[in-house]
């Protein structure tokens, strides 16, 4: 290795190291987590939504060809929801988006929209797999409509499969 090669190598390792530390910080320091392995829950085949504590809801969500159950959820603003999700047939996808923020993006001039990406505030993104339960906790501060679109191909009518969360 000559000097230029060596310094590039050290810089590259350092750069990737910084990226990885940032990832660990986001996950452990800021609590942005990915789904993990769940072994302590009873399997469920029916959808349920109930208030476990004041302001804390528990949602058992079912994905199946080609609908989510419940298809529409109403909760008050400021609620926190523990989402448990499974599928009764094939693999489905589940991502929550905030429609009001998406619309705000549209209202901006085209040039700004092209140049500056605007994060739409979806922070729940799960795979619904038969034979397994997955979990995420979501907080809904802003009133509005939150859209859920099935984002894994699940058969001929996949593009019809969606749900909404209405925060009042």
């Amino acid at each position: 290795m000559d000097r230029a090669e060596r310094s590039t190598f050290v810089f590259s390792v350092g750069l990737l190291g910084v990226f990885f530390i940032a990832v660990v910080y986001a996950s452990m320091g800021r609590g942005i987590e990915v789904p993990t392995c769940i072994v302590d829950r009873e399997p469920f085949a029916r959808d349920t939504l109930f208030e476990r504590q004041p302001g804390l809801y528990e949602l058992h969500m079912i994905a199946r060809m080609w609908e989510f159950r419940p298809g529409e959820i109403r909760i008050p603003a400021g609620s926190e929801v523990d989402i448990y999700l499974t599928s009764l047939d094939v693999i489905h996808g589940f991502m929550i988006e905030n429609e009001t923020e998406s619309k705000a993006h549209m209202a901006r001039p085209l040039g700004v929209a092209l140049a500056v990406p605007r994060y739409t505030g979806h922070n729940v993104n799960l795979m619904a797999v038969p034979g397994a339960i997955t979990y995420a906790r979501a907080r809904f501060e802003q009133p509005g409509t939150y859209k859920i679109v099935c984002h894994e191909y699940c058969g001929d009518n996949h593009h019809f499969m969606n749900a909404t969360i209405i925060v009042e």
Partner: protein, 561 residues
């Protein structure tokens, strides 16, 4: 050095180069139709009808699996014997070609017949016709046979040249196929033990998470199987095409060995959002994914240093002058434009890949159209352009023709670059607004008369159409020069001659002389990374799934009931 080809070798290479291009042309057509259907401009494909997912399966299987595997085998069949100065043993080469042609035809016919609309990832419990799975197995086994056919050549060469370094091109091709062999072992297990008996009705149910995890054990190293033949060209040929030398031979060897060890223990980064796998193990796979970015950063440096060397030989001065002293649009060195356009696209492909790998940041992009936006900048960027360029280069030599319409040959990769960057930007940008991938948006979300209409995605789906049209145009330009070359009058004796570059730094490095320690390290890392993942999957899944057809929400009834 020229290597005159015998008749059998010519025929073999002609088949292995022309046949996959026919499938690729169909796959490209499929891709154009998908952009149109997603945007809601077209409701049905004139050939395949209204089923978007059938066309999408065709696009993925033909372009990403069949075309790439055929090219890697054809490239190795030409380059390995050439670089070692040996003749290819023809009997097993024909067995390999036969298996691959039969396998890919089985898969293709099943897709056309509508029996395998399960996309190229074929996740159970969506079930395809058994002929689809069997066809894929034959294709993969054929590629293994091709690899096993080169190993005795290498062994002989080693015995005859105990003191020489293995040619870098051979190191690269062997690294490609070592990664491929380890990775495809997992998908072979998935198909032979889980999916094939289940789709034949011999078993009733399948563990979906296990099948999915085995798929991604294969699915990520698959992208390096695509990429490494392009890297072989970047290291061994690009410097010579630019008029210079490879900056460092040892860097090339180190990069190929690093790909052997880090390509595979990373697959769970495709499953960050999956259940049944502990998040700590996902983080470990994230770590290894950052490690596998290292050889690409080394490559970026080495390629740039080689081009700078060539630029300075042409009289470049100062810091950046060499950037402008390259044969970007040279008709003489037309192959350079394919490799260079691919490298420029790969800058963005690499950056977006690191974003995807970034663990919880994946929440924002997983399964949105950001993902196809990303991987078209890798597999449809450096990989496709290098493969197309080399296919044209080889077909001219194998058929003994001069490359015709060189202006078009040079215009094709740059046109592709414009279309692809536009397409990928549109897909990525829409993905950040939640636009999903693998979804026939035109029927619902991008149909103004649907109650589910999503106005904010319209612009990005339409822009993807513009990109898709330009990309298709680039492929038409390419096919014109390819066919023009193939059908022209024979000009020379069919013979291979690769533009292999000398190295500027050529010192031998003992640790990089042998594959064995690197393969052992790879197997150890795989055991560390995958044992806990498979254990988690097995202990936390509580039931298996019966098969479903894409057309019905009711499971397929076992025969005789």
């Amino acid at each position: 050095m020229r290597m005159v080809l015998e008749r059998g070798e010519r025929r073999l290479l002609l088949i292995e180069l022309v046949y996959p291009l026919l499938l690729l042309a169909m796959g490209v057509y499929g891709g154009l139709m998908q952009t149109l259907m997603r945007a809601g401009i077209v409701q049905r494909d004139p050939f395949l009808g209204p089923n978007y997912y059938q066309g999408l399966t065709l696009h993925g299987v033909f372009n990403a699996i069949v075309f790439t595997t055929f090219f890697a085998v054809a490239f190795g069949n030409a380059l390995v014997p050439y670089a070692l100065g040996k003749r290819l043993p023809m009997r097993w080469a024909w067995v390999s070609a036969l298996l691959m042609v039969v396998g890919s035809l089985m898969a293709a016919i099943t897709i056309f017949a509508g029996g395998a609309s399960v996309l190229y990832t074929f996740y159970p419990p969506l079930k395809a016709h058994p002929a689809f799975y069997l066809g894929l197995v034959l294709l993969v086994v054929g590629s293994w046979v091709a690899f096993f056919n080169w190993i005795p050549l290498y062994r002989h060469w080693r015995r005859e040249n105990p003191a020489s370094k293995t040619p870098l091109a051979v190191v690269g091709i062997f690294a490609t196929f070592i990664v491929w062999l380890i990775a495809t072992a997992a998908v072979a297990v998935e198909i032979l033990f889980l999916l094939l008996p289940w789709s034949l009705g011999w078993t009733q149910e399948v563990n979906v998470m296990l099948a999915r995890t085995l798929f991604w054990f294969f699915g990520h190293p698959l992208v390096y199987f695509w990429l490494l033949p392009a890297y072989v060209m970047y290291y061994t040929m690009l410097p010579r095409l630019a008029g210079g030398k490879l900056y460092s031979d040892a860097a090339g060897r180190l990069v190929f060995m690093l790909f052997i060890i880090f390509s595979i223990p990373v697959g769970t980064h495709h499953q960050y959002m999956d259940p049944a796998i502990g998040s700590n193990w996902k983080l470990l796979h994230a770590f290894f994914t950052f490690a596998v970015a290292l050889p690409s950063l080394i490559t970026a440096f080495t390629v740039a240093a080689s081009l700078e060397y060539a630029g300075r030989l042409r009289g470049a001065r100062g810091l950046f002058d060499w950037l402008w002293k390259q044969p970007y649009f040279s008709r003489e060195q037309w192959l350079f434009s394919y490799l260079m356009a691919g490298l420029i696209i790969f800058i963005f492909g690499g950056i977006s890949g690191i974003i995807n790998a970034s663990y919880s940041m994946n929440v924002a992009v997983h399964n949105t159209s950001w993902i196809p936006g990303h991987f078209h900048m890798t597999v449809a960027g450096p990989v496709l352009l290098a493969f197309l360029g080399m296919s044209l280069y080889l077909i001219a030599q194998v058929a003994g023709k001069e490359v015709r319409f060189r202006g078009l040959a040079v215009a094709a990769p740059w046109t592709w670059l414009v279309g692809l960057l536009l397409f990928s930007f549109a897909m990525s940008r829409g993905g950040l607004l939640g636009m999903p991938r693998r979804t026939n948006l035109g029927v619902t979300y991008l149909n103004p008369s649907s109650p589910f209409f999503r106005e904010e995605w319209v612009l990005w789906a339409d822009l993807a159409v513009v990109g898709g049209v330009i990309m298709t145009l680039a492929i038409v330009l390419y096919l014109l020069t390819f066919l023009g070359t193939l059908l022209s009058r024979q000009a020379t004796e069919p013979a291979l001659a690769f533009p292999l570059a000398e190295a500027y730094h050529d010192e031998p490095v003992r640790a990089l002389a042998n594959f064995r320690p690197w393969i052992v390290a790879a197997l150890i890392l795989i055991a560390i990374a995958y044992t806990p993942v498979i254990w988690d999957v097995l202990r936390s899944t509580y039931e298996n799934a019966p098969p479903y057809l894409p057309s019905s929400p009711l499971p397929v009834q076992p025969a005789g009931q």
